[in-house]
Symmetry: C2
Subunit: 414 residues, 2 copies
């Protein structure tokens, strides 16, 4: 029992059929005695339509007007969800971000939530009314509508859960977080639980299930986050032990800690190497400053002393689509940076193993390198974080590497 | 110079091309030194889409949610108009009804404006910023979005003009008010001016150019209302004498008063006659009460003493589509009403002559009857108001009657 925030994304509210289905999930939780707040995205396609209109009106446009336009999408879904809930006999009302109010800073189109004054809404919820809140938006210091940027509905849901001291269920089109991509490894299985830290690594590695920002927020406020599918029948009895979906929580709440929880990969990577870079202070800034200005994101960065002992070799990865622009930027800054040679390669992939258990277990990395070596997979680059090891390999070996590692860390066993 | 409210309806903001064109009209008025507020409708088709979604969600739905959903349409147009104006170098911002705020009563989906607190908006306008306001909506006493009902954007525009002590130009897809339908009478011409009273009669007779409610409001507050086309080029020099379109104003402001200003007609009328109705108090209520409950609008009502001197004959008109239901209702209430005979006819039309000059000129009615009689057109029913005479005739003669009357009152001459 207690308070629960249920968030439904664009595909889960794509049309009235989907909204009715989502409402049945809400009805189940209400029947179970929860006080429920529902957070909704715009109907799939609507945000694109509204963004398209704004851009067509003027490519460079006032972000305040953009926000007013785009925020209308969630307003429609919230109203429809309230109507559908009422139709199913459940008291409900819609709340626009400005009505709650969800206060944000004034950075239009990329606002951050500063406070949620949820007293009125909480009171209504205590009286048994479901609160249907527009995701992705709030009201700025100038009393104008702000939006949180794409995917901001997850962040809205977590922030509202924090304000209401509620749990937060994120309904989406997948039924949880998997040990790896089931299209590559049929033995991949859904994790019942995953720690915030692991989820953050997964999210930043391109697992599109949850916004990085929302996971950070959940971690800071200790909001228990569950990822689950809105397309499962709403009336199936839930597994009492694990619950449906995947629970994202504190590592202390995970009893049987795996050393490695999951394997991820990312293709479409390219690699740039700068050889014989003068090894002096400020040289990294001279390289990555111009790339950042050109809005090119770089990922893995590795620097080594070169053979002559006086210069350095520096290698980094980036998305293949950004490669031509990056090369142009670096050639243009060659004088300033001072490097001997500029090489690049495409057709590489990044494979990562993630696990909070690495902190206390030695040998995770060597196990990875050995497993790959056994299959003749050459490692071109290695980076590590506290709970993650990533390697760059020839993209042709991606699937093989993922399968090998999935077995090596015994993730094939459920 | 001074303040000006410019209202653009759905077809005038149907797409970005139309919005850009409307913005050019705004640019012209700004260049002429006006402080401008623009009131916009939803893009053509959007309101229908949103109403359709609400109805599909539940045929009987919470009007508060309906309002939240439907009001989003104007929000999109207002943002786009502000962006397009800025793109044309004109400072502008959008104002949602709740931001102004435009306060209304709590009758959702059919709210009435109670107050417009325009201080903030006026201040911005004085600084040279165009205010783009969402038409058709406001905020109720419960701090939720209300809508004014269909066509409410005209009412919004006039109310804002009253609050700002501004003139009000209604941009639409016709270039003014005509003496009659030019498709029937090629000699019909645009009136440079028309009085509020005449416009009210025209509006209630089905001239769809202006909402009755907005004309009433303009009359009460003395707002000068101009009906003009948004599809004329924005940069054509205006006629200094009359200005473009038709000005709706006090009759004192119309120097050359015509006796009859215009001829209107309405086909698709049906007629019901109740013969030998017991002539006693309450009988009219017994007839029209059940019809009103069935939401059937009746138009002309004529009652006469019948030949026997003790009972009455009562005839009224209604829309043809409502006839079967009306007959059913009346047969069902036959006992209660007490009538001898129930007749009905379809294929009749109402033709009306309207003119504020009738008040001071005798003989307008007899001139009408004579003109129709000369062409052998039989009059079945007559009703009159202070500035209008309506007759019911065989629908086959509609065009002939309109042409004959247009000549008889010398409206063919410009």
């Amino acid at each position: 029992m207690g308070r629960l925030v249920m968030k439904f994304g664009g595909t889960s509210v794509a049309g009235l059929e989907e909204i009715r289905n989502a409402a049945r999930h809400v009805a189940r939780e209400v029947a179970a005695g929860h006080q429920v707040a529902v957070v909704v995205s715009a109907m799939a396609g609507q945000t694109d339509r509204l963004v398209g209109l704004s851009t067509e009106a003027a490519p460079m446009h006032d972000a305040r007007e953009y926000d007013a336009i785009v925020a209308s999408g969630e307003q429609v879904t919230a109203g429809l969800m309230a109507i559908v809930l009422q139709e199913q006999g459940i008291p409900a009302r819609s709340w626009a971000g400005w009505q709650v109010p969800i206060r944000t800073d004034g950075v239009h189109a990329a606002a951050r939530i500063t406070a949620i004054e949820a007293d009125q809404m909480r009171k209504r919820m205590e009286q048994g009314q479901v609160a249907v809140v527009t995701g992705f938006q709030g009201i700025g210091p100038d009393q104008r509508i702000t939006t949180l940027g794409r995917g901001g509905s997850d962040t809205s849901a977590v922030a509202i859960a924090a304000a209401l001291e509620a749990a937060c269920d994120i309904y989406t089109d997948v039924d949880g977080i998997y040990t790896t991509d089931p299209r590559i490894v049929p033995e991949a299985h859904k994790m019942p639980k995953i720690s915030y830290e692991e989820m953050l690594e997964l999210a930043s590695l391109g697992a599109k299930v949850l916004q990085t920002r929302s996971v950070e927020l959940a971690m800071v406020h200790g909001v228990k986050l569950r990822v689950r599918s809105s397309f499962e029948p709403a009336d199936v009895p839930e597994n009492a032990n694990t619950g449906p979906g995947t629970l994202v929580c504190d590592e202390e709440d995970i009893v049987e800690q795996q050393v490695v929880s999951g394997i991820t990969y990312s293709k479409d990577e390219a690699q740039i190497s700068l050889r014989r870079v003068r090894d002096k202070p400020g040289v990294s800034a001279a390289i990555f400053g111009p790339l950042a200005e050109a809005e090119i994101s770089v990922d893995m960065i590795v620097q080594n002393v070169s053979a002559d002992g006086e210069t350095a070799n520096l290698t980094f990865t980036l998305a293949t689509k950004d490669l031509p622009r990056a090369l142009e930027v670096l050639e243009g800054a060659k004088e300033k940076i001072g490097f001997g040679e500029l090489n690049h390669a495409t057709g590489v992939a990044k494979v990562s193993v993630i696990g909070i258990g690495m902190r206390s277990h030695a040998g995770v990395a060597s196990q990875m390198f050995k497993a790959l070596a056994d299959k003749g997979i050459n490692i071109q680059l290695i980076t590590t974080s506290e709970i993650k090891i990533s390697v760059l390999i020839d993209a042709a070996y991606t699937e093989l590497a993922v399968r090998v590692l999935h077995s090596a860390y015994e993730l094939d066993k459920t």
